[in-house]
């Protein structure tokens, strides 16, 4: 579960990124986080991944209180969430298999677990047979599927996707979003940050709108409705 309560985040340079944000996302829910550039969406992602701490207010991620978390606990908190980025962030010198294996090695998985889990996850994202390819040999859509597979490989309870379709054409974007919807249907909480109205409108999911560091809309429906 994700819970933000009266969260204020002011950066050291004086920028007020969030000015009292409150919302909750329950386990197994699918939510879009939308808003224009500079609205505070990225700061929310950074709060959820432990890259920044709130200036005031409370942030709870899968049972970890991000305002009081000890530094040594952050890796264990991060293992409960899988993060997907707009630019995929795959390691170009490693094969698809090794990119996924690295994420599993990082959480102390055994070779046997790795050998069992990776083919299953690659099949889930529609990349079976591509394990030995390098990221550079794959299309943008396929690279994003690898990133999704990497986010899923340690079986996190939550997936946070930061503009996952920003580098893809509309057809591939729809495929990725459909894949995320399927993953959500399997019980994983999914939070997608995006500003693509078309995509948001295509799925009848919860939409949380952020503007100027405040929540200005929260409900099921389309982007336009919230505006």
């Amino acid at each position: 579960m994700i819970r933000l309560k009266d969260v204020v985040k002011t950066y050291e340079n004086g920028t007020d990124a969030l000015r009292g944000v409150s919302f909750s996302i329950e386990d197994g829910e699918f939510a879009f986080l939308v808003g224009p550039s500079g609205s505070g969406k990225s700061t929310i992602i950074k709060l959820l991944t432990g890259e920044v701490v709130p200036t005031s207010g409370r942030v709870i991620v899968n049972g970890f209180s991000m305002s009081r978390i000890d530094e040594w606990q952050i890796p264990y908190m991060r293992r409960t969430i899988g993060v997907i980025f707009q630019d995929f962030r795959l390691i170009p010198g490693k094969t698809v298999y090794d990119n996924l294996a690295l994420a599993m090695y990082a959480v102390d998985a055994s070779r046997r677990e790795i050998q069992r889990r990776i083919p299953y996850v690659l099949e889930l994202v529609g990349l079976d047979g591509k394990a030995q390819r390098y990221p550079g040999e794959l299309s943008g859509g396929e690279q994003q599927r690898v990133a999704i597979a990497r986010a899923l490989v340690n079986n996190p309870s939550t997936i946070v996707a930061d503009e996952p379709t920003g580098n893809l054409d509309p057809g591939r974007s729809l495929e990725i979003m459909t894949l995320l919807e399927r993953i959500n249907a399997l019980g994983t909480t999914v939070v997608v940050v995006t500003h693509e109205k078309g995509l948001v409108n295509h799925f009848d999911k919860r939409v949380i709108m952020i503007e100027d560091g405040l929540v200005v809309g929260d409900g099921v429906g389309s982007y336009e409705v919230k505006e």
Binding site: T49, E51, W72, P75, Y76, M77, R78, R79, G82, V83, R89, I91, L102, A103, Y105, A106, V107, D108, A109, S110, R111, R150, N154
Partner: protein
């Protein structure tokens, strides 16, 4: 952590080869540092060994006053033995001194009828510490009944000077060169960490602990240090052998005793390995620190 040693060592080797030239340079400089440190330490060690020999072999001669009769001369022994730094004190009578002198000249007839009376009773004194030879000589001179002292202070002072200078230089060099080696290895690993900063950020994002991220770089440093230690040991062995041979072949230096490398190789190898590992691991930990703040 338990499952990952294969991964860590594989990544460590991969890191090392990803900047082959810098790794080669780091190994080269570390080898040079280790050999310089080793050479000065071995010079100091050999000077010390020669000093010990000198202590064993080189004795002070204390000549007894001619005015003392045989019994009075012999009675000085207990007084001399009480002096500080005196290890052993042996009385040599006029007759014994004369016989030894004649013996030196293969019983040459020219010396065969030497009168023992022209020799003095004497004591052959061995001391504990050559560093305190001067004080011991002064104390001996103050003993009533001792007329004259003969001590080869110049030779012992020469060894003491070599040992002390080599000791100070080796200590100073060890300190300086250790820092240089850590800096060089640290910079090499910094290149790898800089190259892999995106990988590190990804690893942190998927929940890797700092220890997990650090290990491959520690392995890399350890490997660089160990390879340097092995190469430096081989080079030191060759260099030591060449110097020992040179001393043995030299007319003026062959009096020096060079300790055989076979007698000290284990200590040298252990010291190089320990220093190599400390330098390698120290360098890698210094390099990785900044990149863990994600």
């Amino acid at each position: 952590m338990k499952h990952n040693f294969r991964y860590f060592s594989h990544e460590g080797v991969r890191n090392m080869f990803s900047h082959g030239f810098m790794s080669f340079a780091a190994i080269g400089i570390t080898v040079a540092c280790l050999v310089i440190m080793g050479t000065f330490t071995l010079v100091a060690y050999n000077a010390n060994e020669n000093l010990k020999d000198l202590q064993r072999e080189n004795a002070i001669l204390a000549f007894v006053d001619d005015g003392l009769n045989d019994e009075e001369a012999m009675s000085l022994q207990s007084e001399l033995e009480k002096l500080p730094n005196v290890l052993e004190c042996t009385f040599v009578s006029r007759q014994e001194a004369r016989d030894r002198y004649v013996e030196q000249y293969d019983e040459d007839e020219l010396y065969s009828d030497l009168d023992p009376e022209i020799f003095r009773h004497r004591y052959v004194i061995r001391i504990v510490d050559l560093d305190e030879m001067r004080q011991t000589v002064t104390a001996l001179q103050e003993v009533e009944g001792i007329a004259k002292i003969r001590a080869d202070e110049n030779i012992s002072n020469g060894f003491l000077t070599v040992r002390n200078i080599a000791g100070v230089i080796s200590l100073t060099l060890i300190a300086i060169l250790l820092i240089v080696s850590v800096f060089i290895i640290s910079n090499t690993i910094k290149l790898t960490t800089f190259d892999r900063k995106d990988d590190i950020a990804i690893m942190k994002m998927v929940g890797a602990t700092d220890a997990f991220i650090r290990w491959p770089f520690v392995y890399e440093g350890l490997l660089l240090g160990l390879i340097s230690a092995v190469a430096a040991f081989g080079l030191q062995w060759l260099l030591y052998g060449a110097i020992a041979q040179g001393i043995a072949n030299s007319d003026t230096l062959q009096l020096l005793r060079v300790v055989a490398f076979e007698r000290i190789w284990i200590v040298v190898a252990a010291a190089f390995l320990v220093v190599g590992m400390v330098v390698g691991v120290g360098g890698s930990l210094t390099a990785i620190r900044r990149f863990l703040r994600v």
